[in-house]
């Protein structure tokens, strides 16, 4: 089979942890679109969901930091954070180890990867799962792109990773869904938490949703940091998804800055087009 669903959404811990402090009207529209995304995901009948995330020092630290890591566990635990702080109950999330191993093996023809059979999910994965598979019934394959501890993987390598993931999915018999989850502009967990650069976000989303590769890869970390905060470095997850859905266009279902969530809250779904070229063409 191939890729049956692709989308992107935010993952900030405030989305659940500080839900009671947001403007209910905006928050509830955001939640409604996350639920719409859940319904679309379920309608695609995936066998597994790949979550391209940017974790926050839950499993990976500067003693041995992979640029790219893919989970290969039987199951995962989450959230690693205090349950009351995140307001998500801790649970066990099923993995898809056999499919993971085949995807990793296939992707290694194109990109260098780390893999992990143990992984504690932080809010970067748990917040999306809380809305998209609240009973944790869908097998998950986590992907981490280091967006926290520089040096960070270049954007063109994120695209290459996404493209390699797509090629691997296209060779697998399973029905596979992929989501990217990250902030766009934001300054999380700093004195500037709550600051959001909406024009920057909307310009980025326009490029992302129209899959404009050259424009996406033209971002520099220096400019992103200056204009979109350290949280903006998480655009790597979106760019990986754009590589995975190369040639496809997306639709923005929801975007609104919600300062107490410390991010411009986003829900987007990609209308998946066939990938042009194969492994040889991408080399």
């Amino acid at each position: 089979m191939s890729l049956v669903f692709a989308g992107a959404c935010s993952h900030a811990p405030g989305i659940t942890g500080r839900a009671h402090r947001a403007d209910p009207a905006v928050r509830d529209r955001f939640y409604a679109n996350l639920d719409r995304m859940r319904l679309a995901l379920e309608a695609a009948r995936p066998d597994a969901l790949v979550v391209i995330a940017a974790e926050h020092f839950a499993n990976f630290f500067m003693n041995n930091m992979p640029s790219l890591c893919v989970g290969m566990g039987e199951s995962y635990e989450g959230p690693i954070e205090d349950e009351e702080w995140l307001r998500i109950e801790r649970g066990r999330i099923p993995g898809a180890p056999d499919l993971s191993q085949r995807l990793i093996t296939e992707m290694m023809h194109e990109v260098d990867l780390a893999y992990a059979q143990e992984w504690k999910f932080d809010h970067g994965i748990m917040v999306p799962l809380h809305f998209l598979t609240p009973q944790y019934t869908l097998p998950i394959i986590p992907v981490n792109i280091n967006c926290q501890g520089p040096p960070l993987i270049p954007l063109e390598r994120c695209w290459a990773f996404g493209r390699a993931l797509r090629q691997a999915c296209d060779r697998a018999p399973e029905r596979i869904a992929v989501i990217a989850t990250g902030g766009i502009s934001h300054w999380p967990a700093t004195p500037d938490s709550g600051k959001i650069n909406e024009p920057w976000d909307r310009a980025f989303l326009d490029k992302f949703l129209n899959n404009r590769r050259a424009e996406l890869l033209a971002y520099t970390d220096e400019a992103t940091y200056r204009e979109a905060g350290q949280g903006g470095l998480e655009i790597r997850t979106f760019i990986a998804l754009a590589g995975c859905t190369e040639g496809s266009r997306g639709e923005l279902w929801f975007y609104a800055p919600i300062p107490i969530f410390a991010v411009g809250c986003t829900v987007a779904v990609i209308d998946i087009a066939p990938l042009a070229g194969g492994r040889a063409a991408a080399a």
Partner: protein
Amino acid sequence: MSLYHVQKLIYQLNRDPSVRKQYEENFDALLAGFELTAEELRAIRDPDIGLLYVMGVNGQLLMHYAALRGYEWDAYIEAMRQGEQRYGPVRTGLYKRAGGSP
């Protein structure tokens, strides 16, 4: 000794229940396992969340340590602001790149 060791301590506290237990039962013994300066030890023990921020501790680590030490969200944000006022701009790490406040 370095930002690395301060962050590593907090990383382990955040993720490892056995380290959290050590913190609860014998914090000094836990701290002895890390290469920390007197200033770093004070900032961690007090805790001085503002100083830890100015030292360059990443907020993704620091917000959990602040919560562990009883800081509600607004108090955590305020502590970092006060830290900048008291100790000056962020000294090193990711947040230094924009000259202090990102």
